[in-house]
């Protein structure tokens, strides 16, 4: 489990994240939503160990400040928003970099084919020999996801759950691949790992997330299930946008359509 307690992050003089607490359990898909500039990415960078913070963050009971980089690399993998390269790596070479930490958890005989398997998973079968720089933005994003999956291929290793941190994993993807990637994250959680993702799409969030953290002006406005979190009031207050939250008959999945906006 990832436990975030009273975490504040300052960049320069301004406090970007203030007193945020939530738990992201193993077997759960936790989604962080919120308007631009609400502190989502800064919070994610603190979770990743990239930024100094006040408060405590622990992973499986150990404070991340006490973990070495290589220990953390075996417990969680992080997908950045985008990655540009200055050297002509092939797709397969990039995916293979995910195995740098050497703790993919794949069976010994499957290690050599792991990059190919990961590429199949992100619907890029046969792309191994292509040059990364020649791919579209969405394809590059999926290559990076394949790399990240290689790092924590088994969601549970040595009895400990492992985690995926995804920063806007579907922002540059078409709808088919949005669903494929969300399903990968869902599947990772169902097999015992934990996923924390930043998303902008409230409908995908509502469809796949177990738990939503709503960020607003650096604070966690609310933490809860989609039905608890997605309400007309909150969307008006947080996004400053009067939208009507709908519900599908017979299902507990709320949806938000921009067409319902009262402009």
């Amino acid at each position: 489990m990832i436990r975030v307690s009273n975490v504040s992050v300052s960049l320069g003089r301004s406090k970007i994240v203030e007193d945020v607490s939530f738990d992201a359990g193993a077997g759960e898909f936790t989604v962080i939503v919120g308007p631009n500039g609400s502190g989502k990415t800064t919070l994610m960078r603190a979770l990743s160990g990239d930024l100094p913070y006040e408060g405590t963050i622990s992973i499986n009971g150990t404070l991340i400040s006490q973990l070495k980089l290589w220990q953390m690399a075996a417990m969680r993998a992080i997908l950045p928003q985008s990655t540009s390269l200055s050297f002509p790596f092939t797709v397969r070479e990039i995916v293979k970099l995910g195995m740098t930490s050497g703790r993919s958890g794949a069976a010994r005989h499957a290690v050599d084919t792991l990059p190919d398997e990961a590429l199949v998973r992100v619907d890029l079968a046969g792309f191994g020999g292509r040059f990364y720089q020649e791919l579209s933005g969405g394809e590059q994003q999926r290559v990076q996801l394949a790399r990240v999956l290689c790092q924590v291929w088994q969601p549970v290793l040595d009895g400990q759950p492992r985690f995926l941190f995804l920063d806007e994993p579907v922002s540059s993807l078409d709808i088919k691949h949005q669903l494929i990637i969300m399903q990968i994250a869902r599947d990772f959680a169902d097999r015992g790992g934990g996923v924390i993702a930043i998303l902008h799409d409230l409908n995908l969030t509502s469809m796949f997330a177990d738990r939503i953290v709503v960020m607003h002006e650096g604070r966690a406005d609310c933490v809860g299930t989609p039905t608890q979190v997605l309400t007309d009031d909150r969307i008006l207050r947080v996004y400053e946008c009067a939208l009507k939250v709908g519900g599908l008959p017979g299902k507990s999945v709320p949806f938000v359509l921009p067409q319902s906006a009262i402009l």
Partner: protein
């Protein structure tokens, strides 16, 4: 569905044409084969360089003599040839190979560190910094730096060049890199400023130098392997050996760094410590080679670039391959410089610049978008 994708990628791959890449994109077998070939090429280059020149010892005689040892009683070589080969050519060849290897490796490491295929110690002012250190010792060695020279003896020159290179690399890194992102334009501009700064200080030192020092400086600054000796190998060998031994351990970090500093640390690479080691390695390799041979330009940018086209940018293979190819190329350039205007000889720096500078322009022409990164 996946069949359609396979077909599409096959069509795209063939449309791109030319490049024969295994469909799974794994170039490690190719890279190992290339490294083995380069090893053979280097050995061949060394043997031919030994036999090549004003004296007419045959290749076979040289090989026989090498196998039986220098003092072999049934040496196939005349006494005169033995002196030429063991006291003149062999140190020059060893030094040339070491310097070629260190130039190519320092270029490759620096490019990986700056995430930029144009970063070369010669282009971004690091060699100039090493030069400033070296010139300081040559000119001021009798006066201000006399205690330093007395303390370090023949190591004073390479050490001064090392510290010059180290200082300039640190300044460059500090100026050009913000939060782990290197701005290529800033890096190149900072390199111009550092080069100009070093040139100005060197100018002052040249101005105060006496006649003998001036002659030393002129020879040195043109870049030459002439005057190679076992003493010079002893002086700069340790620094170069240090850099060449360290560099394979940098490969994993350089590969991770290609993804950016944050992603590298997420993969478990201790980025800050790694960068410090890489900077010291670049400075050691550049400093030592500049101290011995002056400015031999473009080896550091041409060799890694050529190799990346063939075996890809994986530093586990790129670094050893660069060392081998750099050594071979410098020996060939040296052979050209020894013979093209025989019996006189051209400084090797002129040969490498004459070939390397147009090549560099060609890289720019092909990848003009490189500054937009």
């Amino acid at each position: 569905m996946s069949e359609a994708i396979l077909r599409k990628s096959a069509v795209l791959a063939s449309a791109r044409g030319g490049k024969k890449l295994r469909p799974d994109g794994d170039r490690s077998a190719l890279a190992r084969a290339v490294i083995a070939c380069l090893g053979v090429v280097l050995i061949a280059t060394i043997i031919f360089s030994l036999a090549f020149g004003a004296s007419d010892a045959s290749v076979i005689a040289v090989v026989k003599s090498l196998i039986s040892g220098a003092e072999g009683t049934e040496s196939a070589l005349s006494v005169r040839d033995r002196i030429i080969i063991y006291d003149i050519r062999l140190p020059r060849i060893i030094l040339g190979a070491l310097i070629g290897a260190s130039l190519a490796v320092s270029g490759a490491v620096m490019q990986g560190l700056f995430r930029n295929p144009l970063a070369d110690p010669g282009i971004v002012g690091v060699s100039a910094g090493a030069g400033l250190g070296a010139v300081s010792v040559i000119v001021l060695g009798g006066t201000i730096f006399a205690p330093v020279v007395a303390l370090f003896g023949l190591y004073a020159l390479p050490l001064a060049a090392f510290f010059g290179a180290l200082a300039f690399t640190l300044i460059l890194y500090r100026v050009a890199t913000r939060r782990g992102q290197t701005s290529i334009a800033t890096m190149l501009l900072a390199g111009i400023a550092l080069g100009a700064m070093a040139a100005a200080y060197i100018g002052v030192l040249v101005y105060v130098a006496d006649d003998k020092q001036l002659r030393d400086l002129t020879f040195w600054s043109l870049g030459s392997l002439a005057g190679a000796s076992w003493i010079k190998i002893l002086a700069s060998g340790p620094l170069i050996a240090f850099a060449l031994v360290i560099s394979p351990f940098l490969a994993r970090g350089l590969n991770g760094l290609a993804l950016g500093e944050a992603s590298a640390s997420h993969l478990g690479i201790p980025v800050q410590r790694f960068k410090r080691i890489a900077i010291v390695t670049v400075a050691a390799a550049t400093g030592a080679s500049v101290a011995v041979s002056g400015g031999i330009g473009f080896v550091g940018v041409v060799v890694p670039h050529l190799l990346r086209l063939v075996i890809g940018p994986d530093h586990r293979y790129l670094l050893p391959a660069a060392a081998l190819l750099g050594a071979s190329l410098l020996l060939i350039a040296d052979a050209v410089s020894r013979t093209i205007v025989a019996p006189s000889e051209l400084p090797i720096g002129i040969v490498t610049a004459a070939v390397g500078a147009p090549f560099f322009l060609w890289i720019l022409l092909r990848r003009r978008g490189i500054l937009d990164l």
